[in-house]
């Protein structure tokens, strides 16, 4: 079982990226499970994913990075025992501190994870403002990710995309970084690179 963590601030494009990646994984006949944690009383992302025929486990009534960390581990156990997915994609809420999730992983006692990968999604339209206002949250996601996706390359100007790339590189110089348009199907080569 591979674990793929997709993080990013609220509205950055996490769900759109996950839909593309889940679609790409299923095209290769991989069994995919998605764990979603949304802020708020109504889970919108899980409703959409279900409408698109994806298998979704929703963690509710709290934040996956603090009050629901144990629930994440429990959910992984249940998935391992009852569903045996090859790939689990976790979408924390955009307000979660993603590093806390990885700290919980040693408490997972199921089948050993074959790999754990972390993709952070960045919104070039708001990254400079968010880096100023929510510095620890945004920088932590960039610093620790294995790959960075700059979303909304169709909505942002080339200058905004370049500025986002530069800001991300300042924080994590060596990380693979891709600017994408998430309203279009993901390039298969990129999907293959991002998927564990």
């Amino acid at each position: 079982m591979h674990l793929l963590l997709v993080t990013g601030f609220l509205g950055s494009g996490k769900t759109s990226l996950i839909l593309s990646l889940a679609h790409a994984a299923r095209e290769t006949d991989r069994r995919v499970a998605i764990i979603v944690n949304e802020i708020g009383e109504i889970g919108i992302d899980n409703q959409l994913m279900r409408r698109l025929s994806l298998d979704v486990w929703e963690l509710t009534n709290g934040c996956i990075c603090c009050t629901l960390t144990a629930d994440l581990v429990t959910t992984l156990h249940k998935l391992d025992e009852g569903y045996a997915p090859e790939l689990v994609i976790v979408e924390p809420s955009g307000a979660a501190e993603p590093a806390n999730l990885l700290r919980a992983m040693p408490y997972y006692r199921g089948r050993p994870l074959e790999s754990t990968r972390w993709i952070a999604v960045l919104d070039p339209l708001r990254l400079p403002m968010l880096l100023e206002v929510l510095t620890p949250l945004i920088t932590a996601g960039i610093r620790q990710a294995d790959s960075l996706i700059i979303s909304k390359a169709d909505l942002a100007s080339p200058q905004e995309v370049a500025a986002a790339e530069a800001a991300a590189r300042d924080i994590n110089p060596a990380v693979p970084l891709h600017a994408v348009v998430l309203t279009r199907p993901l390039d298969p080569a990129l999907a293959a690179e991002l998927l564990p």
């Binding site: 509205g11 929510l134 620890p136």
Partner: protein, 144 residues
């Protein structure tokens, strides 16, 4: 600068028209709603709009997803509304740093009510409904 606080607000709304509308008309209305709500939040005080997102599901299998992240950018749209609907239900999450949930509730309702009045629509708001599928504590599982 200290990080502003986040008090999420969520609701479900029922929009009703006296006569069936084209899907494009519903879509334009809801885009205007989210854009207006983003502007209203922006005007209400110092805040950072995290995400205002809405979803409508239809019996045809279609869906409409709307997303606003700022008053400065128009909402983005994914999916479509089928033609000929006289009513739709909308799930709405309003995630704005710096504005209390009570203020978000007020802005959400006022913006919708004004739009409904301008377009001769009726509007009702519901509390969030319980999950459709079985639940285990805080975990809800929805199998396709």
């Amino acid at each position: 600068m200290s990080a502003p606080t986040l008090e999420p607000y969520a609701t479900q709304q029922r929009w009703q028209s006296a006569a069936p509308l084209l899907g494009e008309a519903w879509q334009a209305l809801l885009v205007a709603y989210l854009a207006g709500l983003a502007r209203a939040c922006d005007a209400a005080g110092p805040c950072v709009i995290g995400h205002i997102k809405a979803l409508a599901l239809f019996d045809t299998g279609d869906y409409l997803r709307l997303s606003a992240i700022s008053a400065a950018f128009p909402p983005t749209v994914d999916g479509r509304v089928p033609d000929g609907l006289a009513a739709l239900s909308l799930s709405l999450n309003v995630l704005v740093y710096g504005l209390p949930a009570a203020a978000l509730q007020d802005l959400t309702w006022r913006t919708a009510a004004a739009l409904a009045q301008n377009h001769a629509l009726t509007l009702a708001e519901d509390l969030p409904s319980p999950p459709e599928d079985h639940a285990h504590g805080n975990m809800r599982h929805h199998r396709a």
